[in-house]
């Protein structure tokens, strides 16, 4: 039982790292979004496996909540990307520096 928990968590860590590396290394904003989702779901995986391990219901509830929020967030995020694409005409994330101080300087 404990071994299977460790392997689940290892899998989650690997997924998280892949997501994080994607976040850092890719420019396309869709890929960045997918990486974020990957990281989110790796955390979800930890919740679920811990809930199974301790045989309690709260982690399962939280993971359901995270899935629901992630769905809502996906809607907002995708609409934001559409608006931003209309403004700049590109999907390169390095162009979007509106909120940085560098532009205001």
């Amino acid at each position: 039982m404990a071994d299977s928990l460790l392997s689940y968590i290892t899998l989650a860590m690997i997924l998280f790292s892949i997501g994080f590396l994607g976040l850092i290394s890719r420019k396309n904003i869709f890929i960045i979004y997918m990486s974020i989702e990957l990281m989110l779901n790796s955390i979800n995986l930890i919740f679920v496996s811990l809930g199974r391990y301790y045989e309690s219901i709260e982690p399962q509830v939280i993971s359901m909540l995270i899935i629901a929020i992630a769905a809502a967030e996906a809607a907002v995020f995708l609409s934001l990307i559409v608006v931003m694409y209309r403004k700049k005409g590109t999907l390169n994330s390095d162009i979007f520096t509106v909120l940085s101080q560098k532009d205001s300087l």
Partner: protein, 628 residues
């Protein structure tokens, strides 16, 4: 009680100075105010003080009452309280009387002398401020309050010496006076601190100090006395801090009359007399003071014999007379010293004012060898100046004779025959250089006949007459008993320690005759050399005496140049190579670090995420490996 009036002696000139200052600012900024508003206010202030002082003087006759008034608490730190207190005992009121009276006369004179000056109001502002400081100095009830007046006098002298500030030399003279005085003030402060530490536990006014001074060890007393005297040396222009006094003649002539003859320079003598209870306990320091005074008197007299500037002759004679005063107070004859201060105030103010009148009459010519024959041109000035010269020379019955005779008698009586001898030699030289001045300025031959004489106003000549009367009569308050007189000054200060006379009346008379003889010798030499002096003959301007023994040059090398070298060394070597490098290196380091750090904030979100990754990894590693 009417003791609160004491405050007004100081406050009236101070208030008047404030009003004059505001009026002057108004006058230059808004509407020009006529001169007589300034002069009438400025002149009335010292005379009002004089009348108040007269009131206290009359109350003091016949009893030993001391008037005290505490205006308010100035400083109060845990039991050590300094009150803004005023004290009028016989010494202070005596000083106040002639300071305010002679000061007032000089104010009248100044209203004539300065009447074409554009800073007329400013001048009277400084003058009244000066009188207020001087009165505070003598009326203070504690050394700390006295120090306020002491410094006020110093700063006013600085203002007034560099009054013609357009000329750089005058400003330098003012600086010189101020710096030389600061050296003296340092000694004064050290003495104050030491005194406060050892004798200030019960209160720090004169009475408490006097009560607790006897418990202080003698070595400390010697130190206090010597340090106090350093302050007196600075203020009263004695060796070695006298260099500022001749240069101080750069100011207008009324300034020389008020500050450098009658009042400020006597502050040192007053201070020694005020601390008589201290100097009574340390006769060694007193003897030292007397020797410094004697050498200053002789030294100044020697220099004065070769000077050509009429005001500088008088400046050196002031220093010489101050030396006499220090001989007296150093040997414990405080009343004698104060008596000479009193008579000196009259005749020296008169001499300066007469010199000023001659200078004005000749369109600001100060070289006596370019004057000549002024006897017929300015008769009144000649006769009043002659009286003053006879007074300073010590010819009876003029004022200086009695006071100078008493000083020399004090020296002889104390067994200090060297001091007495120096005093007599100085008397000969005094007579010589004073009559040299009189003969060259007022007599002489071959002077330019056709020169125009500038009009000397009545406001300048009338005070001369009053002071001339004073120079004749001032001595009569101190006629020695041997002449069948009655020494009023000695009686007035009867609660001071007095040296008992142990010389016989015959000796006294012989000494007196020696003094008169000495004066006559000086006059005779001057008569031989300078009566009917050919004004076309240019005197010999070389030699060590004419160059004032190169004292200024020696001080320049010893003090000024060495400090300058040190400053240059510090500013070009230590500052540039050491301090600048540290400071500039630090700031450059900050700039460089900032440039490095600013690369982090490059608006690249993915780079931020990478930084986060590095941070998180580092913290995780730490948590896992170290904390576990």
């Amino acid at each position: 009680m009417s003791n609160f009036l004491l405050v007004w002696i100081v406050l009236i000139p101070l208030l008047s100075a404030t009003i004059l200052g505001i009026m002057y600012l108004f006058s230059i900024k808004v509407v020009k105010i006529p001169n007589y508003f300034f002069s009438s206010l400025g002149i009335s202030a010292p005379f009002l003080s004089f009348f108040i002082a007269c009131y206290f003087f009359l109350q003091m006759i016949g009893n030993d009452e001391v008037f005290l008034y505490k205006a308010y608490r100035w400083l109060g730190v845990d039991g050590y309280d300094i009150d803004m207190g005023f004290m009028a005992d016989k010494l202070s009121i005596f000083m106040v009387l002639f300071i305010s009276f002679v000061g007032g006369l000089i104010h009248i004179y100044a209203s004539g002398y300065m009447k074409d000056d554009k800073g007329f109001g400013k001048f009277f502002f400084y003058f009244n401020l000066f009188v207020a400081s001087m009165l505070l100095l003598v009326l203070a009830n504690s050394p700390i309050i006295m120090f306020i007046g002491w410094e006020g006098v110093g700063v006013c002298s600085y203002f007034l010496i560099s009054y013609y500030y357009e000329d750089g030399a005058n400003v330098q003279a003012g600086n010189k006076a101020f710096i030389a005085n600061r050296v003296g003030d340092f000694g004064f402060i050290v003495a104050l601190i030491t005194m406060f530490y050892y004798a200030g536990s019960n209160g720090f006014d004169y009475m408490h100090i006097e009560a607790s001074i006897s418990s202080v060890p003698t070595s400390v007393l010697t130190f206090i006395g010597a340090s106090l005297f350093v302050g007196a040396i600075g203020k009263s222009a004695q060796i070695p801090l006298f260099v500022w006094l001749p240069d101080a003649m750069a100011g207008p002539t009324p300034v020389s009359a008020l500050i450098h003859a009658a009042t400020m320079v006597t502050a040192g003598v007053y201070m020694v007399a005020r601390f008589h209870f201290l100097y009574d306990l340390i006769p060694n320091v007193g003897l030292f003071i007397a020797y410094i005074g004697a050498f200053s008197a002789l030294f100044a007299a020697i220099i004065a014999t070769k000077q050509t500037d009429i005001k500088k002759i008088l400046a050196y004679s002031t220093m010489s007379q101050l030396g006499y005063m220090f001989i007296a107070v150093g040997l414990g004859g405080y009343s004698v010293g104060i008596f000479h201060v009193f008579t000196h105030a009259f005749f020296k103010a008169l001499l300066f004012m007469g010199a000023g009148a001659v200078i004005v009459a000749l369109h600001h010519e100060q070289n006596i060898f370019k004057m000549g024959g002024m006897k017929h041109k300015t008769k009144l000035v000649f006769y009043t100046m002659l009286i003053a010269t006879l007074a300073i020379t010590g010819i009876p019955p003029f004022a200086g004779f009695f006071s100078k005779d008493e000083i020399l008698l004090t020296a002889f009586n104390s067994g200090e025959y060297i001091l007495w001898g120096i005093g007599v030699i100085t008397a000969v030289m005094t007579a010589y250089y004073m009559f040299r001045m009189i003969f060259v300025v007022f007599f002489g031959s071959n002077y330019k006949e056709n020169r125009t004489i500038h009009f000397v106003p009545k406001s300048m000549t009338n005070p001369l007459v009053v002071l001339a009367i004073g120079s004749v009569l001032a001595g009569f308050i101190g006629i020695p008993e041997v002449l069948g007189g009655h020494n009023i000054v000695g009686e007035w200060f009867s609660n001071w320690k007095h040296n008992s006379l142990h010389v016989t009346h015959n000796t006294e008379l012989i000494l007196m005759a020696i003094n008169i003889f000495a004066a006559l010798i000086g006059i005779f030499i001057a008569y031989k050399k300078f009566y009917n002096y050919d004004m076309n003959k240019v005197p010999n301007f070389t030699g060590i005496v004419w160059n004032k023994f190169y004292i200024d040059e020696i001080y320049d090398i010893l003090v000024v140049q060495s400090i300058k070298k040190l400053s240059v060394f510090i500013s070009f070597k230590i500052d540039v190579n050491f301090i600048d490098r540290i400071v500039m290196g630090l700031s450059r380091g900050f700039i460089r670090t900032g440039q490095y750090v600013s690369r982090m904030q490059n608006a690249n979100t993915r780079f931020y995420a990478f930084t986060m990754l590095v941070g998180i990894s580092a913290i995780s590693t730490y948590l896992i490996l170290v904390i576990r």
